[in-house]
């Protein structure tokens, strides 16, 4: 592999990238003080980095191509997760048991700070699963998902501020309002082709944020809304620490509920229609599936979860402002779905853990967080579009026909 022509290729790539990044990476100007700073060290790093990366890049491209060839030759590539599933289910079951025990004792073992972080992770799990319905199952690229999240958060904050409505009253309301906005946006735009949908939802997300920022009388503008009450339990008010633990379990509850619902939807009549629509829209419609209605259902259902998590988010942070609902947030949720595996529930859970915990615990990553998200989206699409854990279609047990005869 390390022959001369390979070296030459990498050398060229490295020179190209040194040239490419020269003005942005090497020169930094301070136009006010009229100083130019030359950072030659960066050029060196880019050179070395791209030299090594180009080897890795070509290696994976070759891997991918040989993988494709294998599929064409009729060889099966059994995904890791399926191996796990088809293997002894005791392992899977004990894994689940361990995880749930760990989750149950977590807030009592670790600090409040850690519990808050885990709550955040769980919220993103729910958001990811919600978006997964829209992007992963139905194949609709929604880049304004955060708008529905904002709808939920602001409905709790405002309904509480004006009418004193409590968390438990607004939680279902937030879900309904999320779904309502989903339908409101979805109805006109779901007739459009997929790529137009992406840009319209992106625009819609920005509109919601801009309105929240500028309509001071309604949303209190950029200064946001403070003193949002935390959730109560049968009228009991908790201390901060208790409330954190309570919230943690609430979010676990929501996450479990979401996982349950998404799992059931996947293998239902509606779920199959979503996947078929994603696979081939024209054929799907010709087979009798109402395109707009089916898409609308996915869109509204995805928005419902975002609305609910929005309410929870407002209750958790007790303060919200439009800055929490930027496009970056939508991009983060999308990265979770793409990294984990579009359409795959365990994938989304793992994706959320990686993308939320990594920047949290490895401080060095925090700065490069967004750079990382961007890179993840590109690299996953190029090398592993199915994500870490690819979605496995259900096989049906039929009378006299073992479900997986052909897999073995």
């Amino acid at each position: 592999m390390l022959n001369v022509s390979e070296m030459k290729k990498s050398l060229l790539v490295s020179i190209w990238f040194m040239f490419l990044t020269f003005p942005i990476m090497v020169i930094r100007v301070n136009p006010i003080e009229k100083i130019v700073e030359w950072r030659w060290g960066n050029m060196f790093l880019v050179g070395i980095g791209s030299f090594i990366l180009s080897f890795i890049w070509r290696y994976f491209i070759r891997q991918k191509e040989s993988g494709l060839k294998k599929v064409e030759m009729g060889e099966k590539i059994i995904p890791f997760f399926e191996k796990l599933r088809s293997g002894d289910s005791i392992y899977l079951r004990s894994l689940c048991m361990t995880l749930s025990c760990a989750a149950a004792v977590f807030p009592f073992v670790f600090s409040t700070y850690q519990t808050t972080i885990m709550t955040t992770v769980l919220m993103y799990v729910v958001l990811g699963l919600g978006l997964n319905i829209v992007v992963g199952l139905a194949g609709l690229l929604d880049l304004g998902y955060v708008a529905f999240y904002a709808v939920g958060a602001y409905s709790y904050a405002l309904l509480n501020y004006h009418f004193g409505l409590g968390f438990w009253t607004v939680l279902p309301l937030g879900a309904v309002l999320g779904a309502f906005f989903g339908i409101l946006l979805g109805f006109p735009v779901l007739r459009l082709r997929g790529d137009y949908l992406a840009i319209v939802t992106l625009g819609f997300g920005e509109i919601i944020r801009l309105v929240l920022e500028n309509w001071n009388e309604f949303s209190f503008g950029p200064s946001g809304i403070a003193n949002i009450p935390r959730p109560s339990f049968l009228g009991i008010q908790f201390s901060l620490q208790q409330a954190t633990v309570y919230q943690y379990f609430l979010t676990i509850g929501l996450a479990l509920c979401t996982i349950f619902v998404v799992n059931r939807l996947q293998d239902s009549r509606i779920g199959r229609a979503w996947i078929a629509l994603r696979e081939d829209e024209t054929a799907c419609q010709a087979m009798g599936v109402d395109k707009v209605r089916t898409k609308l259902r996915a869109f509204a259902l995805g928005a419902t979860w975002a609305g609910m998590v929005g309410v929870m988010f407002a209750a958790k942070t007790t303060f919200i402002n439009p800055a929490s609902f930027t496009f970056i947030e939508s991009a983060l949720i999308l990265s979770i779905v793409v990294l984990g595996g579009m359409g795959s529930v365990p994938g989304v859970v793992i994706g959320a853990c990686i993308l939320i915990l990594l920047p949290e615990y490895l401080r060095a990553f925090t700065e490069f967080r967004m750079l990382l998200f961007g890179a993840i989206l590109v690299l996953m699409m190029v090398f592993r579009p199915q994500g870490i854990i690819s979605n496995v279609r259900r096989t049906y047990e039929l009378k006299g026909v073992p479900g997986r005869t052909l897999r073995d």
């Binding site: 490419l20 942005i24 690229l141 319209v200 024209t282 961007g374 190029v382």
Partner: protein, 300 residues
Amino acid sequence: MEYFLQLLLGGLTRGSIYALIALGYTMVYGIIELINFAHGEIYMIGAFTALIMSSVLTLYGFNEVSIIVLSSLIALIYSSAYGFTVEKIAYKPLRGAPRLSPLISAIGMSIFLQNYVLLAQTSDFLPFPTLIPEFNFMKNYEHVFGSTELVIVVTTVLVMILLTILIKFTKIGRAMRATAQDKKMAMLVGINVNKIISVTFIIGSVMAAIGGILIASHIGQINFYIGFIAGIKAFTAAVLGGIGSIPGAVLGGFVLGWTESFATGYVSSDYEDVFAFALLVLILIFRPEGILGKSSSQKV
């Protein structure tokens, strides 16, 4: 009346910039049917490179004309290099993949480039030097239409003419049109499709960079985020005119420019971006094929 004229000409200036960026979207879409979300970032990188190079050249005591020429030229070279590389990394490996894949990859590329500039440079707004000189003969009209605006509009018109000639009358233009029509057939008649796609990205990037330099000297400051909003708006312009259509992109750019200019002038300036997005949503709902676009029926 003067206010109206001011808004009209302001819209024309804005529209020119949108048109320049929209052309890149439309050409790429015409050839590989992809919304190149990273296109706005190419425009931003063009402006940044021009800013950096002009500062460096100023510091080394170059004269005014050579600063303008050199920094613009370098900016154009760099942005086309970025456009070329982006295509090779993020889109070329995805030919033939499901439609969603290159779209997600494009979003990722856009986020990556934004943060690359943010990290390597700064998150603050940087003052952009006035590259465009003041013309004496424009002095009397300065309150409605300055020298910069004049240069923007004239440059845009010139670029459009050049592009039209390139596409209509040159060999490479013919090859581009053929590739846009049918990639497989183009390949069969001996057109190097990969090369044509690269050329398309390069031409689109050059125009985006021209737009970037012009708008930066018009507004006077830039940061890493300018490409994102400008990108969405230019895309709106492209859709407005009919995506895939070159005159459509120009028309769409002007219509959007005027809409924004008048809406902010007469209604409210707080919602500047909302008008553009609302226009996008409306056009997609009522006339998704755009003003000049033909309604296309899918191949079955």
